[in-house]
């Protein structure tokens, strides 16, 4: 084979390889885009449909975008239900954020205690907490209602928050215990030698290390509190206290037998948005492996 021929065949094989790599890469990205579209489509369709004109909203949902211009009719009519959509959104946000705050606070302390301290009946208590996960919460709704009534907390958002926190804690404590267990003991000991004790140790040294666990607990607490319907329906009795899922029930039930589908779409959009925001805010902690490089 002559030199030029060899060169030619080499560049040919190189070109072939480049073409193959290009094809593999485009397949990879095309698949990714297709999957992303598949997941984003429901959100897009809901959001677009919520901007249709009032009359158009009653028609079959094809095409899935507003055909006769964008309008806020649906949101306006959603606002006519209950005590107004702002009030209910505020209620839901209040309950959900308070649930997150309380759940994180209690489960971090409990997880730390269960992970690091030795005390009598520790394992029995832990199993007991985990065991409550097996009790379907619908079955204790009546006792919960009675307890809240006795405490004077029925029909109060604070009472509802306490119920949500209670339901959220077993999983959260379990999660946080695991998170603390994963932190090497030596780091804690080094901090003790450096003079960090108790709460300072917890906040300055350990908390940043269990952040992924906290993010997970927070996301779950928020989503569950935000979406919860049954307890909110049973435990709240006055119109202006209702959370968004209860409002949505009323919207979906319609008035005088007529369902305002535009308002339903608008309500779904309002309910989806905060969940997306919370997840997008916390997902990077959710994924991050902070422990890398701490100990060998």
């Amino acid at each position: 084979m002559t030199l030029s021929k060899m060169n030619a065949s080499m560049s040919l094989s190189r070109r072939r390889r480049a073409r193959k790599a290009f094809r593999a890469e485009s397949t990879y990205h095309a698949t990714g885009v297709a999957i992303a579209l598949f997941f984003l489509a429901p959100f897009a369709i809901t959001l677009l449909a919520s901007f249709r004109h009032g009359t158009e909203a009653r028609l079959p949902p094809l095409p899935p975008w507003p055909a006769s211009g964008i309008s806020l009719d649906s949101y306006r009519s959603l606002d006519t239900f209950g005590a107004g959509v702002w009030q209910h959104t505020f209620n839901s946000l209040l309950v959900s954020l308070a649930t997150v705050a309380l759940t994180v606070a209690v489960s971090v302390l409990a997880g730390y205690g269960f992970s690091r301290y030795r005390f009598p009946l520790k394992n029995v208590l832990f199993v007991l907490i985990i065991a409550t996960l097996m009790i379907p919460f619908q079955s204790i709704l009546t006792p919960l209602f009675i307890i809240l009534a006795r405490l004077g907390l029925n029909n109060s958002l604070f009472g509802l928050t306490l119920v949500y926190v209670t339901l959220q804690l077993p999983f959260s404590v379990f999660m946080m215990r695991n998170a603390f267990d994963a932190v090497p003991k030596e780091i804690e000991e080094a901090a003790r030698i450096d003079g960090a004790r108790d709460l300072k140790l917890l906040f300055r040294v350990l908390m940043p290390l269990v952040l992924p666990g906290i993010a997970t607990v927070a996301i779950f607490a928020f989503l569950n509190a935000w979406n919860e319907f049954l307890a909110a329906l049973v435990l709240l009795s006055s119109n202006e206290k209702y959370t968004l899922p209860v409002l949505m029930m009323a919207v979906r039930a319609g008035r005088l037998g007529a369902v305002n589908w535009g308002a339903v779409q608008a309500g779904v959009a309002v309910m989806t948005l905060p969940c997306l925001v919370v997840f997008l805010l916390l997902q990077r902690y959710y994924m991050r492996g902070l422990m890398a490089g701490a100990v060998k």
């Binding site: 090497p184 030596e186 780091i187 000991e189 080094a190 901090a191 003790r192 030698i193 450096d194 003079g195 960090a196 004790r197 300072k200 300055r204 040294v205 940043p208 290390l209 902070l290 422990m291 890398a292 490089g293 701490a294 100990v295 060998k296």
Partner: protein, 357 residues
């Protein structure tokens, strides 16, 4: 050097009903480098952690620089510790790692900066100050861990097997670095290891532990040349000292594997015919011609190490023995040799393990 570095008085430690440290008394001179060695589970790490205050003392007293610290918090004892796993704070930069203890002690910012600067200069990590531990190599992480100890300006440095996670080459260079550090800083250092080379090269004083008791404490030379008992004799040195079954014949004579040999031992209280253990290190055995007081041996296996050669032998009565062979014609497996033992290096141990003099 004076005697007020660290004083341990009758230190005991129990986990539940199980006592693991059985009353340890030890005086560590200020400015000295003390190494705790022993097999795993001997309590050396537990003892170190008790000095650090990470493990509660069941009974006894710990004094550092004349101050009783037995019940003080780790941060109030004037100690700093370097862990085997480095235990750096992964979410902080190197600078923050070094400064954390000082911040906790509410040291002034200017002072913190000065100390961090000084420590990082000593350890040559000044260019890494803004990195996170995750971005450092093993050796660099260990430097940062040592730096974190230095900035505290402790009375006593505690090292818990600090080099075990490093590869062999790095271990040697860090070992030299630690020795240099000790010379520069002059603090008392207590170092736990199971690596004999580290113990022998670093220590002013070696403390050999077994099952929660001190078997012997002394300079590396003392421990190596005059082991207090069979355990220390067998533990210190690599390859270990040859320990052979022997019979006391009286008059400073023993019989080892059929050969009679004199030993520099008075043998008070020993009855003729009593069983004893004869000890000799591989480097004190010489290959010679046969004759009086020579031990015949068959070479099973010869290990060539370049500068020296280890001969794994079997004696007439089947006991194994290792001899070091430095020069002379090559000796191969299967050949029969005669060994003599350096007159001054013959050791004798009683049946209960203690060394006879």
């Amino acid at each position: 050097m004076n005697e007020t570095g660290v004083v341990l008085t009758d230190i005991r430690k129990s986990f539940g009903s199980l006592e693991v440290i059985h009353g340890i008394d030890l005086r560590i001179a200020e400015g000295s480098f003390v190494v705790f060695v022993g097999p795993s589970g001997c309590g050396k790490s537990t003892l170190l952690r008790m000095i650090a205050g990470l493990e509660e003392v069941t009974d006894g007293e710990i004094e550092i620089k004349g101050r009783n610290v037995t019940d003080l918090d780790p941060s109030d004892r004037g100690i700093a510790m370097v862990f085997q796993s480095y235990a750096l704070y992964p979410h902080m930069s190197v600078r923050e790692n070094l400064a954390f203890g000082l911040k906790m002690a509410r040291t002034e910012t200017a002072e913190i900066d000065a100390r961090v600067k000084a420590a990082s200069a000593i350890l040559k990590i000044d260019h890494l100050l803004e990195r996170r531990p995750g971005q450092l190599s093993g050796g660099q992480r260990q430097r940062v861990a040592i730096g974190r100890a230095i900035v505290r300006k402790p009375d006593v440095f505690l090292f818990d097997e600090p080099l075990s996670n490093l590869d062999a080459e790095l271990r040697v260079s860090m070992r030299i670095e630690i020795a240099r550090l000790h010379r520069e800083l002059g603090n008392t250092m207590i170092y736990v290891t199971h690596d004999q080379t580290e113990a022998m090269t670093l220590a002013d004083k070696i403390v050999v532990l077994r099952d929660g008791r001190i078997e012997q404490a002394g300079t590396p030379r003392e421990v190596y040349e005059n082991p207090a008992n069979i355990f220390v004799a067998g533990f210190i040195g690599s390859p270990r000292m040859n320990l052979l079954d022997a019979v006391w014949l009286g008059n400073g004579c023993v019989r080892v594997a059929g050969s009679e040999m004199s030993v520099p031992v008075a043998g008070e209280g020993l009855r003729s015919g009593e069983k004893v253990t004869f000890g000799a290190r591989p480097e004190h055995l010489f290959v010679t011609d046969g004759g009086e007081g020579r031990i015949p041996a068959k070479v099973d296996f010869a290990e060539y190490l370049g500068g020296t050669q280890y001969l794994y032998c079997q004696l007439a009565d089947g006991q194994p023995l290792i001899a070091e062979y430095r020069s002379g014609p090559e000796i191969n497996a299967g050949s029969t040799i005669a060994l003599s033992v350096d007159d001054n290096q013959r050791r004798l141990f009683a049946a209960d393990g203690r060394r006879l003099t």
